[in-house]
């Protein structure tokens, strides 16, 4: 799936779709979402106070495991473990996890990509082997919720959403949520999936 290969906005008054599309594009680019979303379809019926949005996400990035981006060794005196991190972007999260586990006074960062931990090698190795430093999927979920809330017309505070293996369905209204709307949104999702389903 290409980024934003399908981008459809439907409104009761066809001329209003273009301006809503521009709002959505601004929000998507602001949240740096354009490469994450594969297909998106939005249907708005202001007379029913109804906003529906279905999104197919492109396959997300796998979680970053600490073991895959770092090497561990004892320093010369065998007093502490030296961790060399190869992926610089993840160092802040990496440090956070180590501080949580070993205490702040036991973890220092003498150089940009080197972290020293005052503990024995086996404990550190064991901890790092299981450690997931960053989970892009998780942050995407948070940002997706943020995007949906920003994109909804103001005042539509009754919301339904579901996210299941990269398929996001969102319905918002000012009135009580109706099962028909959720069903309609699911039909939209099916249409969006097209032949891929």
């Amino acid at each position: 799936m290409e980024p934003l290969e399908i981008f459809t906005v439907e409104t009761t008054e066809p001329s209003e779709a273009a301006s809503y599309e521009s709002i959505l594009k601004d929000i998507i680019s602001e949240l740096a979402f354009s490469r994450t979303i594969g297909r998106i379809k939005v249907r708005i019926r202001p007379e029913d106070s109804l906003f529906m949005m279905v999104i197919l996400l492109r396959r997300g990035l796998p979680p970053i495991k600490a073991g895959e981006i770092s090497d561990t060794e004892f320093d010369r005196e065998h007093a502490k473990v030296v961790i060399t991190v190869r992926d610089e972007k993840t160092i802040p999260q990496f440090l956070d996890r180590l501080w949580e586990q070993f205490g702040r006074q036991n973890v220092i960062q003498p150089e940009r990509n080197i972290i020293e931990v005052a503990a024995d090698l086996e404990t550190v190795d064991k901890f790092i082997a299981e450690l997931i430093v960053d989970d892009p999927e998780k942050t995407i979920r948070g940002r997706l919720a943020d995007m949906a809330i920003r994109a909804t017309p103001e005042g539509f505070r009754i919301r339904y959403h579901s996210l299941d293996s990269g398929k996001f369905v969102f319905v918002a209204s000012e009135d009580t949520m109706q099962q028909d709307w959720i069903d309609e949104a699911n039909v939209m999702l099916k249409e969006l999936e097209g032949d891929d389903s």
Partner: protein, 310 residues
Amino acid sequence: MAAVLEPYIYEGGIHKHSLILELLEDLGGYLVQKTPASTEVTLVMLIPKKDVHLVEDLCKKLLGKLTPAPLTGTEVAVVSPTLASHHLPHSACDIAEYIRRGGANTNMIGLARGMGRRVALSADYERRLINEHDVAVFSFGTFKDCIINKKPKLFEGIEIPIVVTGGPDIRTEEISGADIYVGGIGRVAHRMRKGPELDAMDVLNEKVGEIVNLKRENIAKDPLAVLPARLMKEVQEQVPDILNVLTPAPITLQLDGMRVKLPYDRYHEAVGNIVFDEGFILSDVANILPSKMKDYILVKIKRRSEVANI
């Protein structure tokens, strides 16, 4: 007969700008607002019509720019249904900024419960605050149905002229309660700087200008007992504490009065006791009221017909 005053904005270097102020004083004009920004200064002025060329010549000499500012001396309320990110900073702030370029002072008002369709409403306090202004500009969104059928209930109780902005093209008559509708300024999530957006803003300024002119003509039929600009000068001279107020416009002119940004309790008597050369005091010719905005003083000047015996 007082001289006819023309509103202008000067933008130029701060160096020697005091020459303009001296000339303005000699000519009998008024400085409405002065905004210095590092080495630049913006002066909003009322200049006697027949002497505008003198100020123009001096501005040229100082390499500054003098442009007509038809909205000078007005206070405009830019009202958005809420202060949420759906309206701010774009488009409501862009609208306010553009109106300020016309010389007006603007106040952003976000209603507490103005969002949505069925649930939108305004509070009595908000209506009174909006009514203190000369013109209210309501900034709405993208959908025709909302603007025509749902949002006009926010106009209930608003007694000042109402300008409505929104995305779609709608005729003003379709929106009950609106005096003018300007399309092409709906909900946007970016700063308005594209050609069509700026064109729509120009139309907005023009329409607000038309409404202000209508109001001015209406006032001219039965003129105010004192010109707001003259009153401003008297406040500055007779209530010197106003010079210590740090807001950008300590005295905000309105078409039929002004907002004095001093605490009402401590200063309303001093403001009411301002003496004019003709012998009367301000409270004889104006209503001095507590403003709904903070604890400021609102002065509404009476018409000549109301104070005929003075």
